[in-house]
Symmetry: C2
């Protein structure tokens, strides 16, 4: 199940090489989001516009979405579950998934359980318990800044909610062998026993609301595709415990600034992305210096032959996250491909859009600290 072939590895603990999404869909056994699913979503949210990340196929695959939407139509509401591994600053790759999740929460009017996997990060990273706690609090500010409905959003912090989580996690763990873990995550015998146990903790929010509300509830997990191995395990086990398999809706990776391969990471210097706290000046410097360009070597050549939007990071950032307006995006695409729009101009536009977005985010982030208690799941 851990995808490692020739040039590509995609699992929660390693994303390397050029990601072939078609191959992942096949190998993971995902369902691609088709027109039928999109229509069903549209119907469910009352004929409102679909989110641009759906229109553009950024969220492009999933599991059991058809079933989930049928249940919703019948009045059997799902809850959302997503999360954050707090080991460093939040980057725009994280924000992308969370802003989409907020859209889902608003349109479907559902509860969201948001897990901070501080135990995971402590067990996997060379960081102290205290450092992880610091990042947990920092990351919470960003999640709050996304603007989730505080009345319907519940933060689960694995170590703080261990009293709730661990007794449920052992029910999952009892049905999960080391061989499965080994195959799913590429582990071996030198892995620490906490990391081996951990996926059982990540399974819990997919059924914890059903436990708390004493009623079997459908669950939808929006996440980037690398997390799928965790939830494949969750899906195998939950029916054995009397719960629904969680459905999922999965996105491809916002590329790192350097373009080509892997995913953005807040802890790897090489693939460092734009952070939620970056100032307009930092955004400008990062895009100008690092954002891989699909433009030609000279202005003359560019004007004649045009640029390649497929590999241009500035364009991809606009497409994935920062340009909501389809018409505007089409126009940029056309002009860049034709050579009318230069790399400099494209970068300038991307810098403006990203900075403006982050400015709004940061305004809300500044006021987030005092809101934390409202969001923490009551036990």
């Amino acid at each position: 199940m851990g995808e490692k072939e020739r040039d590509m590895t995609v699992n929660p603990y390693q994303v390397e090489g050029k990601v072939d999404y078609e191959r992942l869909v096949k190998e993971f056994g995902l369902e691609k989001i088709n027109e039928d699913i999109l229509k069903k979503i549209k119907k469910a949210i009352g004929k409102e516009e679909l989110h641009f990340m759906l229109r553009r196929g950024i969220f492009f695959a999933g599991r059991d979405l058809n079933w989930l939407l049928n249940e919703y139509e019948k009045g059997n509401k799902f809850f959302l579950y997503t999360g954050c591994g707090p080991s460093g600053p939040v980057h725009v790759g994280h924000l992308m998934v969370w802003y989409f999740t907020k859209w889902l929460q608003d349109k479907f009017d559902v509860e969201l359980y948001f897990q901070f996997t501080d135990d995971e990060k402590f067990l996997y990273k060379d960081l102290s318990y205290e450092e992880i706690q610091k990042w947990t609090e920092e990351n919470m500010l960003d999640v709050i800044a996304v603007g989730f409905n505080p009345k319907k959003t519940h933060f689960i912090i694995d170590t703080k909610h261990a009293g709730l989580m661990y007794p449920q996690a052992i029910k999952v763990a009892k049905k999960l062998t080391f061989s499965t873990i080994k195959a799913s995550f590429g582990f071996n015998e030198s892995n620490n026993v906490g990391s081996i146990f951990y996926t059982a903790m990540q399974a819990v929010p997919a059924f914890l609301p059903s436990v708390l509300k004493k009623k079997k509830m459908p669950c939808l997990i929006p996440h980037a595709i690398d997390q799928d191995p965790h939830f494949r395990i969750t899906r195998d086990i939950l029916p054995k415990l009397g719960y629904y398999k969680p459905a999922s809706i999965q996105c491809s990776f916002l590329p790192p600034l350097t373009g080509s391969e892997g995913k953005m990471s807040s802890s790897s210097e090489a693939s460092k992305g734009i952070l939620s706290t970056d100032s307009p000046n930092e955004v400008k410097n990062k895009i100008n210096r690092y954002a891989f360009s699909g433009g030609r070597d000279t202005i003359e050549e560019h004007k004649k032959l045009g640029g390649n939007t497929e590999i241009d990071v500035s364009f991809q950032y606009l497409k994935y996250f920062f340009e909501e307006d389809d018409k505007k995006l089409k126009e940029i695409e056309k002009d860049y491909k034709s050579g009318k729009l230069s790399t400099g101009e494209l970068k300038k536009y991307a810098i403006e859009k990203i900075s403006k977005f982050l400015e709004e985010h940061q305004k809300r982030r500044k006021n987030a600290k005092k809101l934390i208690p409202q969001y923490i799941l009551k036990t």
Copy 2:
């Protein structure tokens, strides 16, 4: 580290074959309790009589006892830590360790942390979560009936105290690989991931009081020798977290009624022992029917050649637990060896002693339920 050679296996999850204690001491790397240690204990408890389980070498080995007693002498008090795996009724093999622990608590006037490893038993046994919870409550009654000082005794129930336990357990788990677990307990890849993680939970009470009291405190663990692999791991890791290695004082196994091999177990029908709740009639039946006899085949032969106290279960029960009086025990030994005392008479005496002991225990057990809240560790 998991001892499996020819005919003997001794680890927390398997005790099989005839147990060779000398070999275990060597292979586990234990220190035998010598005259010096006994003298030090005697001095520490103010020249009072040593417990008969020490006098008779039932508790016969340990780790760092010399250090622990030196610290005690310097005024650096230890705390006690022992426990119970709640998967069935309590038998006299459990009671033996706990009554000795009570003696330690009383004589040294120290705190006791008593762990109920309900997570462990759920993960290892074919019992439901609810069944384990039922046994946990049942077993608590027996622990309370032992008469531990409620002001100085703190029950830790792994799932109920998971909020305290899990965040500490992951600190242990981060320093513990699957290879170590595999070697210590004879596990393989088909073990469930909860069972692989579990020993990290068993390590926690050895330093939790130091966490709670924000002060590094020595710990003494009284336990039967099969638990040593858990605490060898604990001892390896705790100094890396800034705590003392726990000391231990270890006993040999009260033999099963059938005599010869293994240890008493409340969950294996074959080695079923005398339970804490057995009536005088049940004790009588069990001893008469099952207790392996060291007597001769005929009364005539017995009178002539005498019996073998070494293999006689009734005699061993008196020696291990039910006959506190050394003089009386010597007398029985002498008479049985000479043939003056018959197997029937020995059994009758053992039945009386055991029944009387259990009667007192059961009286206290009857009133234990309402005392539970006093004993539960406050969080």
